[in-house]
């Protein structure tokens, strides 16, 4: 099963532990996480279901290609990592 892990920066607001989930695409894997942690969804996805502009999502260390529909395929051994570069003064 793919593994989904989240930046620790989110821990200030809510719990976001790594999870082994089902799913054949990035979107399905995230959806499986959000099904058990619905409050997490709004921190990662915008209102239309795409990745938030300044949130990065990597699969096995490479950036996801489809940030809007999250259709990149994932295999059972893949590691999804959700993070961001904190910016601002």
């Amino acid at each position: 099963m793919p593994t989904v892990a989240f930046t620790r920066a989110l821990e200030r607001f809510l719990q976001a532990p790594p999870a082994d989930v089902g799913g054949a695409t990035v979107g399905e894997a995230l959806g499986a996480v959000f099904a058990s942690r619905p409050a997490l969804k709004g921190y990662v996805l915008d209102d239309q279901g795409g990745l938030r502009r300044h949130v990065a999502l990597y699969v096995n260390g490479r950036p996801v290609r489809d940030r809007v529909r999250l259709s990149d395929p994932v295999a059972a051994s893949d590691r999804i990592y959700v993070f961001q570069a904190l910016t601002g003064g």
């Binding site: 607001f13 709004g42 921190y43 209102d47 239309q48 279901g49 938030r52 949130v55 961001q84």
Partner: protein, 361 residues
């Protein structure tokens, strides 16, 4: 209450408490490091809208001493045929939060211009689709050089809570008589917008409503700090008269209306739109007590040399007593008056840039 003030800043929520007459101090800090875009204190609860940037906007509520996250206003799926909509169907930030004067009802005005209503004291929110789906909304213009329009004010008539006025930067004043089911552009005369092309200067939808404030006891009296001047309405926002006596300048962002005296209001002017700093480097508050015919320029206790503080739309508030006031600046200054603005005091500390100031209710 008049002895506790909430200050929402770019890096946290600060609670300021009155120690004794004329002495105020920071009593608590919440969400340190996180931008707070809007505040509401009502019915014993405190609401804080966080604008987290990377991680979106979120709404938190404190009852007693416990904070918890609420549902957040979320736009519905964008229809496939909405490709000509210039504005995103996704929450930018919550910019105004108001009580609905009906049990459980709250209003949230947002960027990109969506108005949301909650009927369960903030647990869940629904987009007011009748306003969002009006064809005219596509003409709304972005605020502060940005791409997104913003609802800068939501006024609810305490006598008739279904009567709503919404001020938009930049799209004028919109009115609903049925709690949001139907809408029409409200401002029909008296306002003008100098930066628009000549043929659009008096177009109601071209008005940049920086902030609206209404007298709670006389809700038909509405004050407006507009992008290019101060205006007053005596018919709940239908017609407007420019208040030309405002001094030392007519540009500014904020206004507070006295809760009982329809003739008293406060403003914090800046030089002009392309020079958003106080006139002569002096922080002053302009107060009228005669309906805008004349103004006192109040400065006692405020910085009067090389002060470049700007006060944003939601960063001035008056308490229910009508004499205790507070405002905060983009330079992190906070000043409090207990005598209607005649004199001011500052709590110790240097705060981050301030977005919102509200007295505890």
């Amino acid at each position: 209450m008049t002895d506790r003030i909430y200050v929402g800043t770019r890096k946290g929520l600060f609670e300021i408490a009155r120690q004794k007459k004329g002495v105020w101090a920071i009593a608590d800090v919440h969400f340190l490091g996180d931008p707070v875009s809007a505040l509401l204190s009502t019915d014993g609860a405190l609401y804080a809208a966080l604008d987290l940037g990377h991680f979106g906007s979120h709404l938190w509520k404190r009852e007693g001493n416990a904070w918890r996250e609420l549902g957040v206003p979320t736009f519905p799926p964008k229809p496939d045929d909405a490709t000509d909509d210039p504005h995103p169907w996704s929450l930018g930030k919550i910019w105004s939060l108001e009580s609905g004067f009906v049990s459980g009802r709250l209003w949230a005005g947002t960027m990109p211009g969506g108005l949301f209503r909650s009927d369960d004291v903030g647990e869940s929110w629904k987009l007011v689709e009748a306003l969002w789906m009006m064809p005219e909304r596509k003409q709304w213009m972005g605020v502060a050089g940005g791409e997104q329009p913003g609802i800068s004010a939501v006024l609810v008539d305490p006598r008739k809570p279904d009567e709503i006025r919404v001020g938009v930067s930049t799209a004028g004043v919109w009115a609903s008589h049925d709690a949001g089911k139907s809408w029409r552009i409200m401002n029909r005369g008296g306002m003008y917008n100098e930066y628009m092309p000549p043929e659009r200067r008096e177009d109601p939808i071209a008005m940049d409503i920086h902030r609206l404030a209404r007298c709670a006891a006389h809700p038909d009296t509405v004050w407006c700090q507009h992008h290019n001047g101060v205006f007053r309405s005596e018919d709940s926002g239908l017609s407007w008269t420019e208040v030309t006596a405002i001094k030392p300048s007519k540009f500014g962002f904020t206004v507070a209306a006295h809760p009982r005296d329809r003739n008293t209001a406060w403003f914090v002017p800046a030089i002009k739109d392309e020079k958003r700093v106080p006139v002569d480097g002096k922080v002053v508050v302009a107060r009228t007590r005669d309906g805008g015919k004349s103004f006192d320029v109040l400065h006692k206790g405020l910085p009067q040399r090389h002060a470049y503080d700007l006060v944003l739309r939601h960063a001035l508030d008056v308490a229910v007593d009508g004499t205790t006031l507070a405002f905060g600046s983009t330079s992190g200054g906070v000043w409090i008056s207990e005598d209607g603005g005649d004199s001011w005091t500052a709590p110790e500390g240097r705060l981050p840039p301030i977005n919102a100031v509200r007295f505890a209710a």
